[in-house]
Structure formats: C-alpha cells, structure tokens
C-alpha cells in the first residue's frame, strides 16, 4: 500500500491526539458513589459527629442519621430566625452546636433527646451583625466568630455582653484586612487566622499581620481570565458594591476576586490552604510567608474553590463550582467525570468516622464509600 506524506502526517496527528486524550482520562478518577435524596439542596455545610451528619442548607439545618437515613429538619418552627446555615461548629462541651446563619445571627443548639433546644444570639447580645460565616474555639475555650461586620471573640459567659470583644478594620488599625470575614482557623500555637474578602489576616497575641493578592494570594487575572464568567448575581447590590470598589487586585469584580477567601483550611503541617473566588487554590507557606497558586492550568476543575478538606492520608480534597478534585501534593486529579456526583457545584466536604466521604452541593449530598475513596 502506498502511503503519502499527507496520510502519514494525518496518522501522526491522530496518534498525538489519542495520547493526549488518554493522558487526560488518566487524571480523571472514577469513584463509586451513593446519592442521598432527602430533598435537600444548597448544602453549604457538612459536619460529621459519630453516626450523625449535620447539614447546613438554605432550607434549614438537618441532622441525618447515617445508619438509618432518617433526617430531622430544624427551621423557623424550631426557633431559627434564618434557615440559611453557613457554619456548623461543635462546642468543646460535646453537647452544643453553634450555627452561623445568614441574617439570623448565631444559633445555639443544645442537643438532647428528640429535638434540640434553640437559643439565638444577635446584635443586642454583642454580635457584630447577624450574618455569621464561621465559628471556632481556641484551646482556652474562647469562641471566635467571623461575621460580615468583623470578628467577635467571646470569653466566658456568652450572656454577658462585657464578654464579647469586637475586632473590626477600624479598631484594629486595619490589622484585620476586611470586615467581611468568611473563615476562621486556629493553629496549634493558638494563632488566629481570618479569611476575608480582602485577603488573610493573622492575630498572634496582640499583633496583627495581613496578606493579599499583592503578596501573591490568588492567581492573577491573566492566568484565569478564561474561567471568569458570571457566576453569582446574588453578590450584587449596594451592600456588595463597596466591597468590590475597595478591591486592589487588578481586574477584580463580582466574578473574579483573588482576595476573596471563600474557604480556608490548615494543612497537616499547619500551612494554610485557601480557596478563592476565581483566583484558584492558594497555598500559603506560613514559614516563608509565600504563596503558590493552583488553577485550571494545573488541573483544577474551576478557579472558584468553595470547599477544602484533608483526608487522614493528608490528601487535600477540593470542591469547586465545576466539580471535585484531590491534590496529594504532587498531582491534582479531577473526580467529577465518572460516577456522577449529584452536584458538580460543590459547597461542602467532610469525612465521617467510618471513613466515608460526603460531598454537599447545589443538588443534595453524595456519599463516597470508604473503599471507593481509598
């Protein structure tokens, strides 16, 4: 058979394309999944406690018994002022849960037989404002709360207003990067890290330090431009306009803000991993105070990173608006293509005691069993 140069050229192109496709498929990991349909959408938070799974959603707070699949819903009828739950934190006392709500303040749930007892803490108690995004406890038992109007620290009896301390941009002389605080992390040295809409702040004793895009947080617009699109019009409005106009990152707008810390997680070596709004995944080496950014160019499904969770092997699981990925420190693998996660828009991730991996998204929750995850 006579083979022309042109045919040889076509054959070569086909071979190269096939190799590329195989390489791309090798990065996509199949997973066995179980999908739970309890009619729950917008699962913003997942928190595991024994056989219980706590779900913070836009329709209320759910307690799911993972052994029986029975779910208990708490909403307005149970004393909540807002049914949009943005954080769920277990109190060190082992009996209490704290829910950060969107517009309804901080809810205290005392767990008991049957339905938990609810108390609401709001501005009149000392809360900076009624939009609560994260709650963490330090070793001394102080409660740290991230709100849309700065940070609260509660030392002692929560019912005593004098025990509430406020930290804002103004009263910290701009030590706190921004009053819109979305994430709080506390390391073993009891340093408090805050993820805000204008970067990261650190409170160490009485000293503040901060970092933003100018220091390397989040990928630059030139790197992520292709992935920037209209992602959420809900951020628009006068209340948000001031935030956008305060941004210093080139190209920042509603749909790209590398300073906007949506998710933040301390790694096994207590370095900081940050999910940004359009700026990808950012790794902050606490020792050298340097950032390394990972984007779709490195294999992320999207540069909008909403959830981060480490497994027991130290692998970082990454929830984005376009699917799930994992990062073992060397390679980013995508997991959404096979197995069919219920939602590719991922808000929340958690591991339960049996090792199962739970993924919360716009459309319900998906459980990835132990074997599949391993």
């Amino acid at each position: 058979m006579r083979v022309s140069r042109y045919n040889l050229f076509l054959l070569l192109i086909c071979c190269l394309l096939s190799i590329n496709l195989l390489a791309a498929e090798a990065k996509l990991q199949p997973l066995e999944l179980e999908v739970f349909d309890i009619g729950v959408d917008h699962v913003k938070v997942l928190e595991s406690a024994g056989s219980k799974l706590y779900l913070g959603t836009s329709d209320g707070f759910y307690i799911l018994d993972t052994l029986t699949n029975d779910a208990l819903l708490l909403d307005y009828d149970n004393g909540l002022i807002s049914k949009s739950i943005h954080s769920v934190t277990q109190d060190p006392d082992g009996k209490t849960l704290w829910l950060g709500t969107y517009g309804g303040g901080l809810a205290k749930l005392v767990m008991q037989e049957g339905t938990p007892k609810t108390e609401i803490y709001n501005v009149r108690h000392g809360l900076n404002d009624s939009f609560v995004y994260d709650v963490e406890f330090d070793k001394a038992g102080n409660m740290w709360i991230g709100t849309w109007s700065g940070v609260n620290k509660i030392s002692g009896d929560i019912n005593e207003r004098a025990n509430w301390t406020k930290y804002t941009v103004k009263n910290t002389n701009e030590g706190l990067s921004d009053d819109w605080v979305y994430a709080v992390e506390i390391d073993s040295k009891q340093r408090i890290w805050f993820g805000t809409e204008v970067g990261i702040s650190l409170l160490e004793g009485e000293q503040w330090k901060k970092w933003d895009h100018n220091d390397g947080l989040g990928a630059g617009i030139d790197i992520v431009r292709k992935d920037v699109h209209d992602v959420k019009t809900a951020l628009r409005g006068n209340h948000h306009e001031a935030q956008i106009s305060a941004q210093t990152a080139p190209g920042a707008n509603y749909n790209y803000n590398p300073n906007y810390v949506v998710a933040m997680e301390l790694g096994p070596k207590e370095n900081l991993w940050v999910g940004t709004w359009g700026g990808g995944l950012s790794f902050f080496d606490v020792g050298t105070e340097t950032f390394t950014n990972y984007t779709t160019r490195d294999g992320l499904p999207s540069n909008f990173v909403l959830a981060l969770q480490f497994d027991k092997e130290g692998v970082l699981w990454i929830g984005t608006i376009k699917g799930l990925a994992s990062f073992d420190g060397k390679t980013i693998k995508q997991h959404y293509q096979y197995g069919g996660l219920l939602s590719r828009f991922i808000y929340s991730l958690t591991f339960s005691e049996d090792g199962s991996f739970w993924v919360g998204g716009r459309k319900g929750i998906t459980r990835i069993p132990v074997a599949a995850h391993d």
Binding site: G103, V123, R124, N238
Partner: protein
C-alpha cells in the same frame, strides 16, 4: 430686628435648613447602605436575597399604606430595639442617636417619599 437683618435671615435660613437636610440625607444613605440595604433592599422595597431565608420578610418601605403607619418614633424604636422573633436586629449599641435619626430621615424622604420640612431630630424620649 431691622429690615436688613430680617431680609438676610430670610435668605440664609432656608439655605441652612436645606444644607442640614442634605447632610442628614447623605449620612442616612450611608447608614442605610451599611446596615439596612442587605435585608430591606437597595430601593427599600424589601427585595433582597435575604428575604428568601429569614423568618419574616423585611418591610417594604415603598408601600404607601405601611408608610402611613410608621411614625418617626416607631421607626426609632424598631431600629434601636429590634423586632424580637424576626431578623431585625437591635442597633442601640452600634448606631449613634444622630445616625438613627439620619437614616430615618433618609428612609422617610427618599424611600417612603414623604414630605419633610426638616431632618428628623436625634432628640428623643427613648434616650432619656
């Protein structure tokens, strides 16, 4: 009072009153944007993202019937003490008397469309 003094006052007073109203509206607009618009909406019509997830929908200040029911003092009480059982917080520790009166001025004049001869006074029985 001489005729000249009277004439001077005749021209100066409205300007002073107008300036004060402008200042009050400007301050009130800032307070409204920072503390109120997230729930009550940019236009004060209660159309906000939050309204879908809170127990009682935020009030629509553009509703003329409601506007008639809301006296200055009722609004002041609501801002300072909140509305128990709803998402309306109590701002008494966070807003000064002047900020409260300015935001009431702004809501009543710019959103409710009421005629105001002068800004709402920060002097009120609730503070005494």
């Amino acid at each position: 009072m001489t005729k000249i003094t009277f004439l001077i006052l005749l021209f100066i007073l409205p300007v002073a009153a107008s300036g004060s109203m402008q200042e009050s509206l400007q301050n009130g607009k800032g307070v409204y944007r920072a503390y109120c618009s997230v729930c009550h909406g940019d236009k004060g019509d209660g159309q906000s993202f939050v309204r879908n997830v809170i127990k009682a929908p935020p009030l629509d200040f553009t509703n003329k019937e409601l506007a008639d029911q809301f006296s200055v003092e009722r609004m002041r009480w609501a801002i300072l003490l909140g509305k128990p059982g709803t998402a309306m917080p109590a701002w008494r520790y966070d807003l000064t008397a002047l900020q409260v009166s300015d935001v009431i001025t702004y809501i009543r004049k710019e959103i409710m469309g009421l005629e105001l001869a002068e800004p709402v006074s920060p002097e009120a029985a609730i503070y005494k």
